[in-house]
């Protein structure tokens, strides 16, 4: 294997040329001037109907003519450019930083032991107090969720209220119900009420989280390996004790895609494996809780690519004063 650098990407097909572009722009300007002249002539001679026709017709004819003349050349150029561009595989191979050599084999990236599983998502942990690893909570905190929900509900309902007040004023003035306005506003009012309900729900979750305090989850081994027995320790700082504590190992797929001009991420929970069952715990179902759990075999490992991810979390669910409690803690599942 040699250390020769990768050949530079081949040049794209020659562009139709700056002269052609200049000609096109010159033609457009001349056509626009002709259009303006025709429109002016139509206006002066009193043919007002012909003004827009005179203005737009030359540009339209010029556009169609240009598309016929230049269109195939531009399409051919684009196609040629895409075919002369480096292939996605060669770009990805180079991006690996291993160097790609022509006609010879490339060193496998995983031969560098530093990155044995480069696509396995690393959830990240901190040293624990009872067990070796403390897991980080993932997702928005209950306070943030509540704050966001309140802000959105206020924004929506503040705008909506002006329309609703206007409708009621009409009602008072006319003495009869403005049915059309009411019919139009009803779905928006329902959405506003839903937002208030959501804010209330998140408010309750936030209230519950303040009662329970910080809930810390520590594990004896991380990343987790399917089939291994892992000790899990859960403790809380708040005064109101969590009961009926259950732990689930939850897998979520995340796919990021471009929708229009913005990026969106779709998430879907695809697997849930119970690790701690409150009914089966002989030491009770409250906190602090220390238990050994077996990570199920046959799990897909964590996966992290720019647009596609497979993430695992430990989900702790419980009850406190009749309210439900749920927190997610990121974990890495390694391939076995």
């Amino acid at each position: 294997m040699t250390d020769e650098p990768l050949d530079p990407p081949p040049a794209a097909a020659p562009w139709p040329g700056s002269a052609s572009c200049g000609l096109f722009v010159f033609g457009f300007v001349v056509t626009a001037l002709i259009g303006m002249g025709l429109a002016f002539w139509a206006a002066v001679t009193g043919n007002v109907v012909l003004v827009p026709v005179g203005f737009f017709a030359p540009i339209l004819v010029y556009g169609i003519g240009s598309a016929i003349v230049f269109g195939p050349r531009i399409v051919r150029h684009m196609r040629e450019a895409s075919r002369n561009a480096p292939s996605p595989e060669s770009v990805a191979a180079v991006a690996h930083g291993e160097g790609v050599e022509l006609g010879t084999k490339v060193a496998a990236p995983w031969e560098d032991v530093a990155e044995v599983n480069p696509t396995v998502h690393d959830a990240g942990t901190t040293p624990g107090k009872v067990l070796a690893y403390r897991l980080a909570q993932v997702g928005m905190t209950p306070g943030c969720r509540f704050g966001c929900a309140v802000a959105v509900a206020i924004f929506w309902n503040a705008i909506l209220s002006s329309f609703v007040i206007d409708a009621f004023n009409k009602w008072n003035r006319a003495g009869q119900i403005p049915w059309l306005d009411m019919l139009f506003l009803t779905p928006f009012v329902l959405v506003g009420l839903l937002m208030i309900g959501t804010a209330f729900f998140f408010g309750v979750r936030w209230f519950v989280s303040t009662l329970t305090g910080q809930v810390a989850v520590e594990v004896s081994a991380h990343p987790m390996l399917p089939g291994d027995v892992v000790r899990i320790h859960i403790a809380q700082t708040g005064t109101f004790r969590l009961v009926r504590v259950a732990v689930l190992l939850v897998c979520t797929e995340e796919a990021t895609y471009i929708a229009g001009t913005s990026k969106s991420t779709a998430k879907k929970e695809v697997a849930k494996h119970p690790l701690v069952d409150p009914g089966a715990n002989p030491d009770g179902d409250g906190l602090p809780l220390t238990t050994d759990s077996t990570i199920p075999t046959g799990l897909m490992h964590s996966f992290d690519a720019p647009n596609n991810k497979i993430k695992w979390v430990l989900r702790v669910t419980a009850r406190v004063m009749g309210f439900s409690f749920s927190n997610d803690y990121g974990v890495t599942v390694n391939p076995r």
Binding site: A13, V120, A305, I310, P335
Partner: protein, 132 residues
């Protein structure tokens, strides 16, 4: 303009499923050899995602032959290959995310200004059990 027939590429793999860190063995052949006006022949072993998200790819092995550096003339045809596979990512068939492994041969040919391209894939599974 003389129309060159599209190259007929065939890829055969030893089996449909390979274990992580195992050896992928197979052969690819360009029937009748690369076209006389071939620009490049590229062989890669790679994974790619499909599903709802934008496609991600990762290349485990990449090899290219080009006429400019004389490597294309010495390219064996049929070309037998063995590639050490990585440990991950495993093949996966999820709801939003799917991960496919494949061996790919890409041939670019044709005169300047009329570049053509043929891509042939052979899918296989990278699974711990070694089964599809």
């Amino acid at each position: 303009m003389i129309r060159v027939e599209e190259p007929d590429i065939r890829i055969e793999l030893a089996t449909e499923a390979f274990a992580p860190s195992g050896e992928l063995a197979g052969v690819f052949v360009i029937a009748g050899g690369p076209p006389p006006d071939a620009r490049s022949v590229e062989f890669s072993v790679m994974w790619r995602t499909s599903g709802k998200g934008t496609e991600d790819i990762g290349v485990a092995h990449y090899q290219a032959w080009k006429p400019g550096d004389g490597t294309l003339a010495s390219m064996p045809n049929p070309n037998t290959f063995t590639v050490t596979l990585p440990n991950t990512p495993w093949s996966y068939d999820g709801t939003l995310v799917k991960i496919h492994w494949l061996a790919r041969v890409r041939v670019r040919y044709g005169p300047e200004g009329d570049t053509r391209e043929v891509v042939q894939d052979a899918e296989f599974a990278l699974t711990p059990s070694g089964r599809v």
